[in-house]
Symmetry: C2
């Protein structure tokens, strides 16, 4: 019996395997859509890992569930998260499944639909006035008052190990060496997949929104750099200020390359996923597909991970209103 | 060695099993989405068979492929179909895969996007002036000139047996007795599933657009009745004038009931599939889900088959613009 995985360690491939054996009965083995009628920019075969079909509509459920299971083993009855988006939904659903309480800290102006989804799973929401109140102070107070365990969205070994389960699924699903592209915000999913791929035949690339390429610049420079701006892309779900410490430690030596896609390309990828693969992609969830459609220049078959489907209906309708460029290709 | 299945016979469950063994390597085993966070009108568990993820975006590929494989065995090098929609796409793709030629007869005013999709798969299109020219005359001329085999969209034993493969997949995927709801136009898919279900634990229901309930009235009366109108529902893909002869012969004794859903309910079901299951449903493909959400009154878990995802972007955007009623349920 080894020690349980501490949140602040750098996890290994063994930790990903252990995480998957824990969460496997509760996560959806999301399909690999490998008969999609579109190609990469380089003309190679393109398939989609449809992770938007995961519980709560994004990969975040995997890591959230794993982290909640481990803190529950340590006696926690209550978990806490800062998030207005997919991590919040993942934590809320995981806590509900495990019979734990969950509190989510959100800015006061978070979209109603996101609050509703968290409440639907029985979580409490505490709001703070964005720009006037400190969410960290509120968080610390709630941690003490409620004896709640804080679960960070990506820079947490348990979360990373849980997200890595997606990489283990890809190892089963891809029947020849692929270039796999995944979006990268804090790096939790991509670092988990990188660990899962250790020693395997696939190469991993990350994709970011253009203008928010902190990962691309950090990887090129060999040190963690920040974005100049915090807002200004439609890919709100994956805008993080800087690479995580643990995730950078994992990814700095494991990636084959990186891409950046602009808003227009992301919107095209959303329409393409809807038109050709019949799935919903949210903007942040479509960045890897945009990279495959507009930037990839390699010679391998590519698998783009569509990481989430919690799109805003109005933005989605805008994506559908674009002229579609792949229809007669 | 038994005789090959003739197109004008009433097929049996054995024919469905034989069809599946032929087409299985080439069709997608579409996922059962059984962790969807919505319930039936009666409050029972609701899962979705996501057949919109099938090749060409609809179940029609199954039957088209099976029929093309059988006519190819008989020496055909060329197939012919009347259709402006999903059957056309199924035939075009199947012919392409088998190295056969395909000709599709469409009205001159068929949507460009549908023509493009058929051309993409290398099929020829012949158009006729709707209301002025006879598509049947054109079809007979082409059959003779090109020695082409006509494949009907539903009243064909080979097509029915191919569609039935979806029912065999459900037998594997559903782990307890379900009420399965499927949309019904000509009845090809529903009769195929009905055969697959013979002797099994599931009950089958059909769903139609309100005002176009030729099946419901025919089943109640015990004889084939027609619709009063040919147009006027958003569910264009499943508007047929009257039940097929072979399909009625199969379904008249095998259904547990029928439903009719109106346009508003269908649009709600489209949004619900997008919002909760993250998949694209076209109007005709969402009728069974609409029946589950707004009409089903039984006490079993329900599986709604979402049969197609080839939606028009403008109609889809309209569906997304509706207020969503299930978000806080």
């Amino acid at each position: 019996m080894t020690d349980p995985l501490a949140a602040n360690k750098t996890p290994t491939r063994s930790d990903v395997l252990a995480a998957y054996s824990l969460i496997r009965p509760h996560v959806t083995l999301t399909p690999l859509l490998d008969r999609v009628n579109i190609k990469t920019q380089a003309g190679t075969k393109l398939s989609i890992k449809a992770e938007s079909l995961q519980e709560t509509g994004s990969f975040k459920f995997r890591g959230a569930l794993h982290a909640c299971m481990l803190v529950a083993k340590e006696g926690a009855r209550h978990v806490l998260a800062y998030s207005s988006g997919n991590h919040a939904q993942g934590i809320a659903r995981a806590a509900k499944m495990l019979g734990m309480e969950a509190t989510i800290i959100m800015p006061h102006d978070a979209p109603t639909i996101k609050m509703d989804r968290v409440r639907r799973d029985g979580a409490d929401i505490f709001t703070y006035l964005r720009g006037q109140e400190s969410r960290e102070e509120l968080g610390e107070r709630l941690q003490q008052e409620k004896e709640a365990f804080l679960i960070k969205p990506y820079d947490d070994a348990r979360v990373i190990a849980g997200q890595g389960s997606l990489g283990l699924e890809l190892l089963q699903q891809l029947n020849e060496p692929h270039d796999v592209i995944v979006c990268c915000g804090g790096g939790g999913l991509s670092s988990g997949i990188a660990l899962a791929f250790d020693g395997g035949p696939h190469r991993l690339f990350v994709a970011e929104p253009a203008g928010f390429d902190d990962w691309g610049r950090s990887l090129d420079k060999g040190q963690r750099l920040s974005n100049d701006r915090a807002t200004g892309s439609i890919c709100d779900a994956i805008l993080t200020p800087t690479p995580g410490e643990i995730t950078f430690d994992i990814l700095k030596s494991r990636l084959a390359g990186h891409f950046a896609a602009d808003d227009r390309q992301v919107m095209m990828a959303m329409k393409s996923a809807w038109e050709e693969a019949k799935i919903t992609a949210e903007p942040g969830g479509a960045v890897a597909l945009a990279a495959a459609l507009f930037h990839y220049q390699g010679d391998r078959p590519v698998c783009a991970v569509v990481t989430g489907g919690n799109a805003d209906p109005q933005i989605f309708a805008k994506a559908l209103a674009q002229d579609y460029p792949f229809g007669t290709g």
